[in-house]
Subunit: 85 residues, 2 copies
DNA sequence: CCGATATTTAGATAAATTCCTAAATATCTA
DNA sequence: TAGATATTTAGGAATTTATCTAAATATCGG
């Protein structure tokens, strides 16, 4: 089930911060990387895990690849958390 | 912030299953362990991480230690997830 | 086509995580 | 108090994760 990847993805603070950034607006991989003291390959790796977890979309526009939130898994997460409320 | 421990705790499927069990009823460490093909020390370790994340309470009653859900962190999680909804 | 820019992929390493066995601790009961 | 039961703590091995540098891929502009 895809929730497993989502929970794994959420366990890292860098990835949660990336999601927070994307909540504000869609961003390119480079723009995202500029918010961290970490190399671009490392951020690229985190983005790939978020994509694997179906928490972000990626779309190439020319030289850039834009990342945006994919909210479908968040709905599943919401249902999961509500059970404990 | 305690959310960090909570997200870490949730990243493991065994720990999520423990939480699901405790949703039904409070259970002793031994009862919980009976639901897994894993040694009791391993389950004990998972329980300790859940406690560190403030997702469960533990209370000794005689020889047994009962575990139960602590829902306060789940409320924070709910708020966090809702932001992405 | 070439050089520059944006991003990912590959490969390596250090740190963190999961799980085990053995030993320690706490409680109960005879 | 001694033995049995419940649970945790300690220590170690195997796996996974996070990060880096170097190299590869894709696109753009001249």
């Amino acid at each position: 089930m895809s929730m497993n990847y989502a929970f794994k993805a959420l366990s890292d603070p860098t990835r949660r911060k990336i999601l927070d950034l994307l909540r504000e607006k869609d961003m390119t991989a480079g723009e995202i990387a500029d918010h961290f003291q970490m190399t671009k390959p490392s951020i690229s790796h985190h983005l790939s895990l978020l994509k694997q977890a179906q928490m972000v979309y990626d779309e190439r526009k020319g030289q850039n690849i834009y990342y945006s939130l994919n909210t479908t898994v968040f709905q599943d997460l919401l249902k999961w958390v509500i059970q404990f409320h």
